[in-house]
């Protein structure tokens, strides 16, 4: 080994230990993935082995039973629009609260922060009633509107901390040059918020994409189902048919894992930034 001098026996044994623990972490994924390519008899006979051939029949069936493309589209639509809205309304509100700390604005900020301790379970029951009285039930826009409401607390909190660290001078010079408040915000401040915006988008996306309880309360039509809802209703019907159930699970897990692998550096940074501030 070339770097033998620095790479001691102690490090080597730690490396082996790490790899073993990692394999242990991956075992569940192996079982699900390997068995999703088996026919039912093969799955029942040899659960631990690799599949003899790559049998795709389960996937073909599940794709249509789960209406996978539809569920994927619904999840994507809800996640993207919730993110866009949350970024816009939270960044604007936080900016105003930092730069114009009136009594009212401070009170609103305090309200946002305090609400973070309210568990979703304590408000979900009346929420359903409020939602139906404003015709927000069983609609994707209604669901998106609720994500605005639930996300705004943490998002404002994160933006608020970040904006405080931005020096005022740049904005002042833009105002002197004749820019309106809106112009200053969108052309100068918003681009400066980019690192926090990325963090916020990542945290919101993981939460919204994976959320089950809120969509299950708000959406009832089968064609509006997001991926967690589609998986749930599919799984309930097919618990005894592991071959199909596992193919369904793999399909459902795949999009978010790809998202993660593609953006993992940002995700790790986002979580670090988000948790230190939060």
């Amino acid at each position: 080994m070339e770097s033998a001098k620095k790479y001691s026996a102690r490090l080597f044994s730690l490396e082996v230990l790490g790899i073993l623990v990692a394999l242990l972490f991956l075992v569940p994924f192996y079982f699900v993935l390997a068995n999703s390519f088996k026919t039912f008899p093969e799955l029942a006979m040899s659960t631990a082995k690799l599949p003899k051939t790559l049998f795709l029949g389960n996937y073909e069936k599940v794709w249509t039973i789960m209406k996978f493309p539809k569920a994927f589209w619904n999840s994507l639509f809800v996640t993207v629009l919730s993110n866009v809205g949350l970024v816009i309304i939270s960044s604007m509100a936080s900016y105003r609260m930092v730069r114009k700390p009136t009594k009212f604005n401070n009170l609103v900020f305090l309200g946002f922060v305090a609400a973070m301790v309210i568990p979703f379970q304590s408000i979900m029951i009346p929420l359903v009633k409020v939602m139906s009285s404003i015709n927000f039930m069983d609609s994707k826009l209604g669901l998106i509107g609720s994500y605005f409401g639930f996300g705004v607390s943490l998002n404002v909190f994160l933006y608020h901390g970040f904006i405080k660290s931005i020096p005022l001078e740049i904005e002042e010079s833009a105002t002197v040059d004749g820019s309106s408040s809106y112009g200053v915000f969108w052309k100068i401040v918003f681009p400066l918020l980019k690192p926090m915006t990325i963090t916020i988008i990542i945290l919101n996306s993981l939460w919204i994409w994976n959320d089950y309880l809120l969509p299950s309360l708000v959406l009832s039509s089968p064609e509006l189902r997001t991926i967690p809802l589609a998986t749930y209703s599919f799984f309930g019907q097919y618990t005894k048919q592991w071959d199909l159930a596992l193919a369904g699970l793999t399909l459902s897990v795949l999009p978010i894992v790809i998202f993660f692998l593609a953006l993992q550096r940002h995700i790790v940074e986002g979580i670090t930034a988000g948790s230190v501030k939060g």
Binding site: L17, T47, Y95, Q121, I125, L249, L261
Partner: protein, 288 residues
């Protein structure tokens, strides 16, 4: 005028959604918790403290759910933080596979609790059984989801497996901020690895400990998705968390009044515990 308009353009939308989705339902939930209401009927009967009396003195299911959630939270908080911290210690060493390992340990976190519950249902029912047949190790031959004590540990295993990677990320960030020269000075003075860990590293990463404890307490206390898909509260309600109990009371038994009262009690407990924990660990934080 223009200034007032600006105020509302900037703050208005966020405030509006927050009021409709969070504040109004929260206030309503306080009101409904003093009523007998099925969620649909127009007449809402006010019954004072009856719901709370029922919850505190008679509702054994709720007591069991609270006891289960508390045991789960304590176990999860200890194990998840321990595993997360050990992984972080391991991955701040100069390992060649460091980046791959970080990715692997973090991965369970990007998948939602509902899907993880289903994945592990298969592992416990089929995967472990198969491993048991091959290896004859007693651990794999247990009736994992069919028995109250093992079902409890099944949920713990999955929660730790899911949460440890997230805490690892936070602990890694904290560990890499510990000044190197301070550690070197301690080693030169003859401190052992354990002494350095106890007297230097742990006090310096207390802010991360505060955050990690807060996160694990709130995850475990509010556990729903994972619990719902893995055991559905079974066998015989032995793994029913408070969240599931509230959900069932409101949406299956159609007792919205009682359900909101349960949720209100739950909110008070969560708020008190989180506040005490943050205040307590904050006091242990030191400045470099």
């Amino acid at each position: 005028m223009a200034a007032l308009l600006q105020q509302w353009v900037f703050v208005g939308p966020a405030l509006l959604f927050f009021l409709i989705i969070v504040v109004i339902p929260f206030l309503m939930s306080i009101y409904y918790s003093f009523t007998e209401w099925n969620g649909v009927a127009t007449d809402v009967k006010f019954n004072g403290l009856d719901n709370f009396k029922q919850i505190l003195f008679n509702d054994t299911d709720y007591h069991n759910a609270f006891w289960f959630t508390t045991r789960l939270t304590v176990t999860n908080v200890i194990l998840t933080n321990l595993v997360g911290f050990l992984l972080a210690l391991l991955l701040t060493q100069a390992l060649k596979s460091r980046n791959v390992l970080r990715t692997v340990f973090f991965m369970p976190n990007v998948i939602g609790g509902l899907l993880l519950g289903f994945i592990w249902q298969f592992i416990f029912v089929k995967g472990f059984a198969t491993l048991g047949e091959i290896t004859h190790i007693g651990f794999f031959e247990l009736p994992w989801l069919g028995d109250a004590p093992t079902a409890f540990w099944a949920i713990v295993i999955v929660s730790v497996w899911q949460g440890a990677g997230y805490l690892m990320i936070i602990y890694i960030a904290a560990l890499s901020n510990v000044p190197k020269d301070m550690l070197e000075a301690a080693y030169i003075d003859g401190a052992s690895r354990m002494q350095v860990l106890r007297s230097i590293i742990v006090p310096l990463i207390m802010p991360a400990v505060t955050v990690c404890l807060f996160l694990t307490i709130s995850w475990s206390f509010k556990i729903f998705d994972l619990n719902f898909s893995l055991t559905k509260g079974g066998p015989f309600n032995s793994t029913e968390s408070v969240s599931i109990n509230i959900y069932q009371e409101a949406f299956r038994n159609n007792r919205f009044g009682l359900g909101t009262a349960k949720a209100f009690v739950f909110f008070i407990v969560v708020a008190i515990i989180s506040t005490i924990q943050v205040m307590y660990t904050k006091r242990k934080e030191v400045e470099v």
